[in-house]
Symmetry: none
């Protein structure tokens, strides 16, 4: 493979995929990492690409807002996501909800895990696709601004045709008496459908979500297999939830 040929190949790949990793190029072009780095350096010097740690981007690439959000969201959410990722067994079919916490699950999946994820959240679908080798299925529908998830009548009908092993849900509020609740009616319907069509359910909720109530219930606490939260949870809330039948995992 000629030098120039390789560089033009890199440009092609980059314009096609919108980004590229050095490691990908090493594998695809069969040269050492140093050579790729030198090529990227040359191209960057010529202004053809923008170099970043680990790879390169086209110049003038606009970072999508979900990418930013994902970078910002760290801390206790990571621990919760990590624990949730550990629940997934090879070969399982998993419903996974939208939200920043569930999207983080993607980064904690073992690289060799073969499972199937079904979601209606665009950022989650992208995260899962890019960061794992699992099958990812996105449910179609109207895209909701801000939340970046799909909605619509077809959604529930499609969910009903699927029987999953596990559902990972993020709740807005968790309360011993009122269960897990959210403030968006349509969203609640979808989450309910997920739970209905799944053998087991785990709720992901930061400690700050506890003791609150939103209008639409998605599940009572004794209906879900586990609730994952962080160590900052208030003892009283914890006990109230356990009394209500919730199996709480604190990480």
């Amino acid at each position: 493979m000629l030098n120039e040929e390789r560089k033009s190949k890199i440009l092609e790949v980059l314009s096609q995929r919108g980004r590229v990793l050095s490691s990908e190029l090493v594998a695809e072009l069969n040269v050492s990492e140093d050579t790729i780095r030198r090529d990227l350096k040359d191209l960057a010097l010529a202004g053809a690409i923008k170099r970043v740690h680990g790879g390169a981007l086209p110049i003038g690439h606009v970072e999508f807002s979900y990418e930013k959000r994902q970078k910002e969201s760290v801390g206790e959410k990571s621990a919760i996501a990590k624990r949730a990722a550990a629940l997934i067994c090879p070969g399982q079919v998993v419903f996974i909800d939208g939200g920043t916490t569930t999207a983080l699950v993607a980064s904690y999946l073992p690289k060799d895990l073969k499972a199937t994820f079904i979601t209606y959240s665009l950022p989650t679908a992208i995260a899962l696709t890019e960061q794992s080798n699992c099958h990812v299925r996105l449910l179609g529908g109207r895209v909701v601004k801000d939340l970046l998830l799909t909605m619509g009548p077809g959604l529930l009908k499609e969910i009903e045709t699927i029987q999953a092993d596990l559902t990972l849900i993020s709740a807005e509020s968790v309360h011993g008496d009122f269960g897990a609740t959210v403030s968006h009616p349509d969203d609640a319907l979808v989450k309910c459908a997920f739970i209905q069509q799944s053998a087991e359910t785990a709720i992901l909720a930061g400690s700050e979500k506890f003791g609150k109530v939103a209008p639409y219930r998605i599940a009572r606490l004794n209906e879900v297999a586990s609730i994952i939260t962080d160590t900052s949870i208030d003892t009283k809330e914890l006990e109230a939830c356990q009394k209500a039948g919730g199996s709480i995992i604190v990480v």
Copy 2:
């Protein structure tokens, strides 16, 4: 083997394979490496080929002016996207394809435009949702790695239930005789379905896409309402496409 004969052979091989190594020529033409090098030097001096370390490339395939070309092409992509955005009328239902150019269309939509976009590309759906107030519908399916678009049997069936006013397609290659073509068979099917179910079609293609051919045809040039490209388009290619019935908009 005569001198001239050898040189024309080199040109032939080069145009056939798109690149050639000195070592290959040594083996195939049964002459010493120095002779080949002298030939290549002559041809390069005459402007017939581009010499590179280890062999040669066709002229124009790899311009050394990476900088200009790339920067221009970003500007040209924007211009194409802007022109395409102007095609969309209020209230219309529009199929829109994946790819960087089509994703740029989002940023040129009037803020008060009310239209409906239907796509199978996740980045495009996100761009449209975030940068406009239009309805955006995402077609569901398995998410394809790298490309970040959905695929699957349900896709075509769903498209068939929709009758749109306009389709915006980005083609990999545009050729007078062979029409607009792409290299991914499934992708071609989806694009075809878009065109089939739409009253009008516009193809977005940078000037560098012209004169090339990929394996799968998505449309003949006389079947689409307009082809939008930039001013760098080669005059010959332009005429060839117009002769084939293409209505080309140069921006």
